[in-house]
C-alpha cells in the first residue's frame, strides 16, 4: 500500500513525463481502458494486478479523486506504475482533476488532512499538466467527449497549458461534455454553463473527418459500460461509490471485451 506522504514526491517526478495536451497516437495490441475510479483504490489495484503484465497499454480516462477518501493513494498507485513504465500507462485528465470540483467533492479536504495545508499544491500542478486526449487504435480517448468547435483532433494539441480549471472553453468541454445520440449538434447540458451534450450527427461527422472508429470516454455514471451511436461512443465507469459495477474495457485488435470488477 502506498503511503500518502510519498505521493507529492512522485508527482514531481512524473509531471515532466506527462506529455502534451494531446499525446501522440498509439497503435497497440492489447489495450485496457479504465473509466472514472473516484478514489476506488481496489479497482485501480486490481487493474494493475490483473492486466499490467499482459497489456501493452492501460489508459485511465480521468477522475481519480473526489467522492471518497483515498484519492491521494489512488493517484499515487497510478503514478507509481506510470513511473515504472511511462509507455505502458496513460493518465488522462478528468473534470475532477481541478480546483473547480476538489473543494466541494472531498479531495481538498482529504489532501489537507493527510498532507497539510500545502498538500494540495502539488496535485494542482500535476492536474494542470495532465493530457486531455490520446488516439489509440483509431479511438479517441477523452474524459467527457468532443467539443463544439473541435473539427480535428489536432486542435487539442494547441490548447493552452497550463490551464488550472481549465478555463479554455474547448478544454472545458472535452472534460465536461456528454454524448446524446438522440439530439443534433451541441445542446447545453444540465451540468452547468459551458458544458454540452453532443449529438449523433456531430459525432458522426467528427469521426469521419478524423478517420476515427469511435470515442472511448468516462464521465457518466453507468453500470460499468454504456454504448451509444451503434457502439461508436463507449462510456466506461469504474468506480465504487455509485454501487454498480466497475467496468474495464479490454481491446484486443478488433475485439472488445467488457469486464466488470
Amino acid at each position: 500500500m502506498i503511503d500518502a506522504l510519498d505521493v507529492p514526491d512522485i508527482l514531481g517526478e512524473a509531471i515532466v513525463k506527462l506529455g502534451k495536451p494531446l499525446l501522440q497516437s498509439r497503435e497497440e495490441g492489447t489495450v485496457v481502458f479504465v473509466g472514472d475510479t473516484h478514489t476506488a483504490i481496489d479497482v485501480t489495484q486490481t487493474v494493475f494486478d490483473r492486466y499490467y503484465k499482459e497489456a501493452d497499454l492501460i489508459v485511465f480516462l480521468g477522475d481519480y479523486v473526489d467522492r471518497g477518501e483515498t484519492g491521494v493513494e489512488n493517484v499515487g498507485i497510478i503514478v507509481s506504475k506510470f513511473l515504472e513504465d511511462s509507455r505502458k500507462v496513460i493518465m488522462l485528465r478528468g473534470n475532477h482533476e481541478s480546483p473547480l470540483t476538489n473543494p466541494y467533492y472531498g479531495f481538498l479536504e482529504e489532501v489537507t488532512k493527510k498532507l497539510g495545508d500545502q498538500g494540495y499544491q502539488s496535485f494542482k500542478e500535476f492536474f494542470q499538466a495532465m493530457p486531455y486526449s490520446v488516439v489509440v487504435n483509431n479511438y479517441m480517448c477523452v474524459h467527457g467527449g468532443i467539443a463544439s468547435g473541435l473539427e480535428h483532433v489536432s486542435q487539442i494539441a494547441a490548447l493552452p497549458t497550463p490551464d488550472v480549471n481549465p478555463d479554455d472553453p474547448m478544454a472545458f468541454e472535452l472534460l465536461w461534455n456528454d454524448p446524446r445520440e438522440m439530439i443534433e449538434g451541441f445542446v447545453p447540458s444540465v451540468r452547468g454553463e459551458g458544458a454540452y451534450y453532443f449529438g449523433g450527427d456531430v459525432t458522426e461527422r467528427f469521426l469521419q473527418n478524423n478517420s476515427l472508429k469511435g470515442i472511448i470516454r468516462g464521465h457518466e455514471v453507468v453500470d460499468g459500460f454504456r454504448k451509444d451511436m451503434d457502439g461508436k461512443v463507449i462510456t466506461v465507469f469504474s468506480s465504487r461509490y455509485h454501487k454498480e459495477s466497475a467496468g474495464v474495457l479490454i481491446m484486443e485488435g478488433e475485439k472488445m471485451v467488457e469486464e466488470k470488477i
Partner: protein, 258 residues
Amino acid sequence: MRRHHKSDDDEVAVKGGNDEDFSQAPTGSKAGATWKCLACGAYNDDSEQACSECTAKREGAEATPKKEEITEADILNWEAPADEKAASAEPEEASTDTDLPEEPQLEEPKIEPDEEFTPPVVSSPIEAPSTPSPSPSFTPSYTPSQTTAGTRYYLVFVNSPAQSIIKSKVAIDFEDFPTISIGRNPENVVVIPDQEVSRKHAELSVEGGKIIVRDLNSKNGTYIYNGKQFEKVTDSAEVKLNSLLKFGTGTIVRLTVG
C-alpha cells in the same frame, strides 16, 4: 473569456456542501445502513431518528442496505412505491425544491440507486433504450393508439438523474389522455423520477392542432430549447416535433414520433 469560473465557484459552493451525493449517499467505507428522508430525500445514518437535512421525523422509513442495487428491470417493472402513503402526507414541495439555486449545479446528475426512483410512467408504456437489458417480465400493456392527428408521439429521455432511463421512450396518447400531466407524483400520466421536478410540474395538450406545454407553477420551471438555450416557459408554449423540453434542472425530454 470563460463565464463560469467566479460565478460557478460560488454556485458550487452554495450547493456542494449539502446537496451532492457524496455526502448524502455515503460510500461503502462507512459501516452500517442509511435511511432516506421521505421529505427531502437526504440520506441519514441509521442511528438518527430525524433527518439531519430538514429535521423531518423518520417516519415509515426503513433502513436501506448499503449494497442495494437497482436495475433497469426494476424501474421498468416498478409498482407504486411502498412509501406512497407516507409520501403523500408530506408538504406539497419537498425541501430540495426550495433550496435550489437558479442555475444547475456544475456536476454530474445525482444517481442514487435506491427506492427513490419512482416509476417513469404510470399510464403509458415505457420502451427500453435501444440496447435494453433483459427484463423478461416486462410487457407493454397495450399498443399506443393513434393521436387525433394520426401520429404516435413519444417523449424520449435525453437526460435524467436516473441514468438508466436515459434513451428510454414514453408513448403519449392524446386520445387516452387529452391532457398529459407531467410531474413527480405517481398520479401523473408521465412520472418523472427527479427530486427537482415538482409533484405537478407541467402538462401537454393539443390545442388547435398544436401541441402545447403548460407550466403548472413548478418550483424549478419548465424550459423549451430554442436552438441556442433553454428558454423558460412562463405560461405555455408550443412544442414542435423534436423540441427539447427541460423540467426543473436535471430532466430533459424530446418530443418525437416513432
